[in-house]
Symmetry: C2
Subunit: 202 residues, 2 copies
């Protein structure tokens, strides 16, 4: 086999037995009304994300916490029913907020924060979390790995600083693309770079 | 047994089968001459560190990289034969430097950086690394865990976000106190808090 064929085969095998790793930078989800309050209009799609239908918005916000602020923070669309700010624990330290480690959507009782846009300000009373590390899987992939929605698994990373993450939440939906989502603390702790893979362990 | 006795026994058992986890913030080691160039005098001990004889200096430096700077960075003493700047990969991103992951002391060919003190500036031509995660063990503890100096082991963390670090370097010396050293990316990836423990796996 020539080198190109070997490379293609290797990729196909990796795709079959592994999951691509992806680092999620800090970002904000918001309601349609909050987008209007912050920017004077709804969210403008700038580029699609790995999960089908999700996009990075052209709009950016400043996060203002009790101890510091972060400028130029990504906003993801489409708009949701409730705002959610996903930070790393490093970000939390800088802002003076201790985000609880929660699955996406589980924001009850989490800390608030102030969002600043170019047209206005929105004070959230809750919504700041550190997203629990998780896997997005299609139903077909979940069957292949013998895992179910909401199962907790371990994830071995094939990265420069290899490790095995515990407490990884499996999410299964036909709306998903296969992908492991880490925050930047986690991505740096394993020295992940784009194109790296992980393996699900029971 | 009363609660106090149970607590004391638990700590004794943990101390026997585990290693305390410690997060190392970004810091600088420097030569005596560099301290004089930066501060006009040698390093002033402010408080002792967990490793015997090592101290946090009263002096602080600013790190100036191609893309950003970090103020008020810790300087550790005593002075060494060669400067070394230990950053997290997160710090490197902010400064615009890609620190290689290296054992302490292995700085050949690593990136340089500019140190700014209250009395002067020192431009390092090399010395910036991300310290490879490592264990400091006394010879007695190394025997108990059946590990040797320079061995690579895994380290399971009993933390809020449990994981198993691979590629953990064992260092053994009678000058050490038992301790696992993580950087802040790694400490946040496992949500370590002071008092947490880890277990050495072969």
């Amino acid at each position: 086999m020539d080198q190109t064929a070997i490379k293609e085969l290797t990729q196909a095998v990796l795709q079959h037995i592994c999951v691509p790793l992806e680092a999620s930078a800090r970002h904000v989800h918001m309601t349609e009304a909050q987008a209007h309050a912050l920017f004077g209009h709804g969210l403008t799609p700038q580029r699609p994300l790995s999960q089908p239908g999700q996009f990075l918005a052209a709009e950016r916000v400043t996060l203002q916490g009790p101890k510091g602020k972060l400028n130029h923070v990504a906003v993801l669309g489409p708009a949701r029913k409730e705002a959610q700010v996903e930070l790393s624990l490093t970000d939390g330290r800088l802002l003076g907020i201790q985000p609880p480690i929660r699955p996406s959507g589980d924001v009850a009782g989490s800390p608030g924060i102030v969002l600043v846009g170019d047209q206005g300000t929105v004070a959230l009373t809750q919504g700041v979390i550190a997203a629990q590390r998780h896997l997005h899987l299609t139903p077909e992939t979940a069957v292949r790995f013998s895992v179910q929605d909401k199962q907790i698994v371990r994830l071995q990373t094939f990265t420069d600083r290899p490790l095995v993450f515990g407490d990884v939440l499996v999410r299964v939906s036909s709306d998903y693309a296969d992908c492991a989502h880490l925050d930047f603390d986690e991505a740096n702790a394993c020295a992940m770079t784009p194109g790296d893979w992980g393996r699900i362990l029971p």
